[in-house]
Symmetry: C2
Subunit: 271 residues, 2 copies
Amino acid sequence: MSLRILHGDVVVDHVAADDRGLNYGDGLFETILVHHGQPVWWREHWQRLERGARVLGIVLPDEARVRREADALMAAQARAVLKLVLTRGRGGRGYSTSSGPVPTTILSLHTAPEPAPAAIDLRWCETTLAIQPRLAGIKHLNRLENVLARAEWRDPAIFEGLLRDSAGRVISATAANLFVRIDGVWRTPALDNCGIAGIARGWLLDTLPGVDVTVMGRESIENAEALFLCNAVRGILPVGGLGARRWRPDAATTDLRRRLAAAQPAFAFQE
Amino acid sequence: MSLRILHGDVVVDHVAADDRGLNYGDGLFETILVHHGQPVWWREHWQRLERGARVLGIVLPDEARVRREADALMAAQARAVLKLVLTRGRGGRGYSTSSGPVPTTILSLHTAPEPAPAAIDLRWCETTLAIQPRLAGIKHLNRLENVLARAEWRDPAIFEGLLRDSAGRVISATAANLFVRIDGVWRTPALDNCGIAGIARGWLLDTLPGVDVTVMGRESIENAEALFLCNAVRGILPVGGLGARRWRPDAATTDLRRRLAAAQPAFAFQE
């Protein structure tokens, strides 16, 4: 794993044991696809990081400084994943942030995942997402719910699991957002109470006219005409099954994948 | 800061950047008072850690091995705080825990806090705790809510803030549990939905007959005859004020503090 750690602007060798990211999950992260040495959607990832830092009151490091380190890691990488973790920095024992710490930035390079199947299979998770509007939408480091949900299955034939909040509203997969078509209209769950506002989801909302950002229950999903997941590493993932329910390949979803590949060649796919 | 880090049974120099504690808050912690070189309530802290590890499916390290490192750190410490962090260990990118990692244990020694005032002042926090029964009671590392709540005030005259859950039920302070006396009966909030089941709270439930573990709203608290906070580092902290509401010293609370000091001399106090 190629790695760079910044304490403020200064490169350091290790993450300190008193880093608040480790002690409280007091930080944020981004997972960025790297294609021919370049980050895909860098600006969008940085904007989400900025939004999260504002919500948590974390000092944002200098973007150009971080990008310089990222560029050094990404150079000569045909395809990879760059993970960026930003924490509030080191801090004493205790929740108080009054010491005004210098943020920690951790950049690490990972192998790109194997291509997903042409249509993926999903399951329903039992773990529910707690309702916490103050943290909804941002990609913070408090991710035990995702860990517990992902631990519910080992069957490699199941690609992802769908999560509901504690009120039964469908929110997302464990590591992807969800779009469904009902009565010819694309819909995606509102993320005011929990969930992460994904970068690929953002691209789709900007690109597709009239997406309905709304509340949906389990039945709406199972009765949908088509279903796909999306995230910034995988792009658009057509769903072929959810439990016993099966879907045929959907022409409109294929068309969306083509548009995404045209906008971001990193998401080219085998038709 | 004196520090020991174990990767499984092996002492290592640093926490790895891919530790799941740092990346997802995928772990637990304990904050243990050290008195004359000895940990206070070690067994109770270890038992809570065990409970948390079971909930999260984290491998528990060998207690004797961890205790040996703790003893080395605590030796010759008249008074200090030992923090123990246990994480699921190192892991690749992604929420899946399938790699079955070796746990990371981090032991660090900290200065004991200054004694609290004879009666402390509280405030109400605006940040609410999300309802998540699967994680309630255990002392996991997903603590952004506590961080946000503690960041609500800077006034050093306010010692702690009280938190409610998203349904308005009073749960705890940011870093302490809460006991109140109403109609002559001691009550403490039920922690089935959120909050941390503190070690001092556990001692009080074992010691005091007939404590009512119950649901209380803001008015119940403000109308109580007496109020105190408790945690494993501070013991029992009588409350003198909550916003405009003031309480006089309470004989029954003083008596409880005496009983605690008799059971655990580390909690001796100035009468």
